[in-house]
Symmetry: C2
Subunit: 504 residues, 2 copies
């Protein structure tokens, strides 16, 4: 077999996808494991990416009338118990605060001051926010109530993976209350559209919108909508969810209002969330064997300028050119935000590779020769690392936003093509099983892809497929046309196809 | 005695200052108590204020080269114990996680899955961030390391008051590491200047910069710098602190680097923080007996437009005028941010009072008569509620940013005048004791004010004054000139005055 070309990340995706992911997280300088079990440290380069995602999402929320607020980190155990399915869903992964001080024991400090009621560190906030809603809502005039919270949450996971599944993560959770079921349902759809727009427009991640099967719903929800995206190992990543909670949580938290007809009614509520998991999605949608590739719209920085200083007599000139170019770029806007520009004047080998691994969209080298010709030497992260272009400085400044848009578009189209190539309509059980089990010498980690197949709607068939193949129903796509068919598992009649895949 | 004029807040500041504070928090719709002991719910109007404070502070941090990151919520007990003074300072107020799931017991769910090592919910993050720093720092080339985290922290307080002292609060904590003590000390000063600028320029709160006495230092710090502001009850509020930690935490967390001389050295570290407590400071600096007064630079919104709709035939016209005016205003910038405009078209009595209580800087009424004259009827929150001005629409649009600046300036000057009027230089012990104990029939809650007096530097004198009067040394002002004098407590010689006051 021919020797693999040298890559910045080892192993490559083909060699060991799971380990490739961990290595990309490391070499891209996004985050690292912490000494606290299952918790991560988000490093500056990763946090800047998150800040940009937050800003875009927050603006979109506010455009739909949502307001931010903040609720307690701790939830009294009795609150969590108010909704039976809900507590059932989270009981196994709750961090529990039982004491409120430390005292000297024989072998050092020990917990003391036991609480009369244990407090759960929020895994999600329906019940504690529901308590506030029950006070804020009196009349139909107080509705709709559209609240979002940016917060950390804790779900004690046994097997963790940075960004994808961590014991603590950052997210937003929206919570709304409405006078009618119709209005609440409409809100879950509006927020799903916001998530889809964030994913496709800003993260360059094509998504499929749909609804979950009963087995995959949020604990306590009547209906869970989701967006699902295909990663490069052909597994699905759920990138955002929006839940119609019916009156379940309104009844649990006693959120009632006087209707225009003077009757007293329970409100209809929704909740919806997206998290730092999206960063894992970016890595697995766009990363290659040289590291992450950041979508320009949310990139931690857009351009790095690397002055080439070989002789001390040219240093001042090169730095002056670099700094004036940086200023000129920073004065420009890219989709309503200022261009984010870094200068890397470290005089070390491998400097360019550092930025490739970190996934910055555009790298620029500036040497005395370039300055003599008033030009720059530019590399794009979506192209090969040797493929660089000399451009006149004015042209580069004029075209940089177009270049960024072009990279954004390229990433999206690549991911969409990849998804299309790995999506299949299957109507025969044997083909279905083959699709998810076939081995391939070159690519040992094959997860099939997205299979559009018929499903009769029974939990039995769903769980058989899950047990046999570790494949789940990712969603019933919103745009699936009605179509007569037979369940891929039991052969009974079905009126729509669903998407089966392995999932994160 | 003449009857008090009717006010929106009852009791007034003079009648019962502490209760006035709680009532302002309530009527201004900023926040409320939660069912979780000592924790608050920050409502949308309060959270928007916090978001604006965050934005200003974050921009200022980044201008000084600071990068944001995120570290775990939980700190292993063994980490906290690494710095002896530090853990001593926080042991009495730590929320402790001891279990990681819930199980069915005979009377409902009970904590299960006991952790081998308890986890403390961060009261501050020196030790957990120090662990990361110990991995990130190898060489002097890695320094300085300038990191900030926006986060929630928990300090289990026995007596809580919303914004001022809550078990959970939101804050930022900056953590830096340097190669030299001088550079670290310089950083603590730079960050103190950032806090002073935030307070004075954005919050309209005049502050005094200084350093804490040893007794008032952050647990584990070598030196604590602070800004202190006078509230309307003449008590001091510490509005931000910046700590020089020497090598104490570097030794505890093993943050070492190779110097240019090839020796291995411990780094010099700093930390600095400001929190949602600042909102309490805004309330008590500017609030009056009608509610809060928001400083325009950080106000949740700048202008509310209130269309007056008395007849249905004029409704469309009035609303069209209102909406076009809102759009025109929103297109304007006020100190690099867009103008924040609310429309309140509720047809209810007391609408104007709601906005007075919420402290919006400018209220505008728009009725058919105003429209006929192409004018608006404007009230400023820094003036009496009856004092309103008719202005041509064009003039209002042209002048709104100047009006906001003028309100900002008025608030600052009022607070500065108040502080000056209640600041005194005292050299005699009896006068000092009188200053902090004198009773006044009209104002029962008298806390003296700021007393600039000499102090010999002994902890004995400091604690005697604290025991006798509940008065503490707020700071040794940065700009205090050297001056010979005698300690206000023991009469021994002193070379500088310090500021004594009661404090929050």
């Amino acid at each position: 077999m021919p020797k693999q070309p040298k890559t910045a990340v080892s192993p490559t995706r083909v060699e060991d996808y799971a380990e490739w992911y961990q290595q990309v997280v490391r070499v891209s300088d996004l985050a690292e494991r912490s000494p606290v079990r299952g918790c991560m440290v988000i490093k500056p380069w990763g946090y800047a990416l998150w800040e940009n995602i937050v800003r875009e999402l927050d603006d979109m929320f506010k455009e739909t009338g949502v307001q931010n607020a903040y609720f307690p980190l701790f939830i009294p155990l009795s609150f969590l118990e108010k909704e039976a399915e809900h507590v059932e869903g989270f009981a196994k992964e709750c961090a529990v605060v039982t004491h409120h001080r430390l005292e000297k024991g024989p072998d050092g400090l020990v917990p003391a001051g036991e609480l009369t009621e244990p407090l759960v560190v929020r895994p999600t906030s329906e019940t504690i926010i529901g308590d506030s809603f029950s006070k804020w809502v009196r009349s139909y005039r107080d509705l709709p109530l559209l609240i979002n919270q940016w917060a950390n949450v804790v779900r004690w996971e046994m097997r963790t993976r940075i960004f994808l599944r961590t014991s603590e993560f950052l997210w937003q959770e929206g919570h709304t209350a409405h006078a009618t079921a119709e209005e609440a349902i409409k809100r879950t759809e509006v927020m799903l559209d916001v998530y889809a727009k964030l994913a496709e427009t800003h993260l360059a991640m094509p998504v499929i919108k749909g609804r979950k099967s009963a087995a995959e719903r949020f604990p306590g929800a009547v209906d869970t909508l989701c967006i699902e995206s295909m990663m490069q190992d052909r597994k699905a990543l759920q990138a955002g969810t929006s839940h119609f909670l019916g009156q379940n949580f309104a009844k649990a938290s006693d959120i009632r209002f006087h209707s225009p007809q003077e009757t007293e009614e329970y409100a209809w509520t929704t909740s919806w969330g997206a998290s730092t998991r999206l960063i894992g999605g970016i890595i697995m949608s766009h990363g290659d064997d040289d590291g992450i590739i950041l979508p320009p719209r949310v990139a931690s920085a857009h351009v790095v300028l690397m002055p080439i200083i070989k002789k001390s007599e040219t240093e001042a000139e090169v730095m002056a050119f670099t700094e004036s170019l940086a200023k000129e770029l920073k004065d420009q806007h890219y989709h309503h935000r200022r261009l984010r520009v870094e200068i890397d004047n470290r005089n070390i080998g491998g400097r360019g590779w550092d930025w490739i691994k970190k996934g910055i969209p555009v790298r620029v080298e500036i040497g005395p020769r370039d300055i003599a010709e008033n030009s720059v030497y530019m590399g794009r992260r979506d192209k090969g690392h040797r493929e660089k272009t000399a451009m006149k400085r004015e042209q580069f400044v004029r075209e940089i936003t177009h270049i960024l848009d072009d990279i954004q578009q390229t990433l999206f189209e690549r991911a969409l093509t990849f998804r299309k190539e790995n999506t299949i309509f299957i109507d025969e059980s044997k083909l279905f099983y083959d699709f998810f089990t076939s081995k391939n010498q070159e690519k040992p980690e094959i997860h099939g892809g997205f299979a559009h197949s018929h499903w009769c709607g029974s939990e039995g068939c769903e769980s058989k497929i899950k047990d046999d193949l570790s494949v789940t129903i990712r969603c019933i796509p919103s745009d699936a046309p009605p179509e007569e068919g037979k369940c891929i598992c039991c052969g009974k009649s079905s009126d729509t196809r669903v998407i089966f895949a392995k999932a994160y």
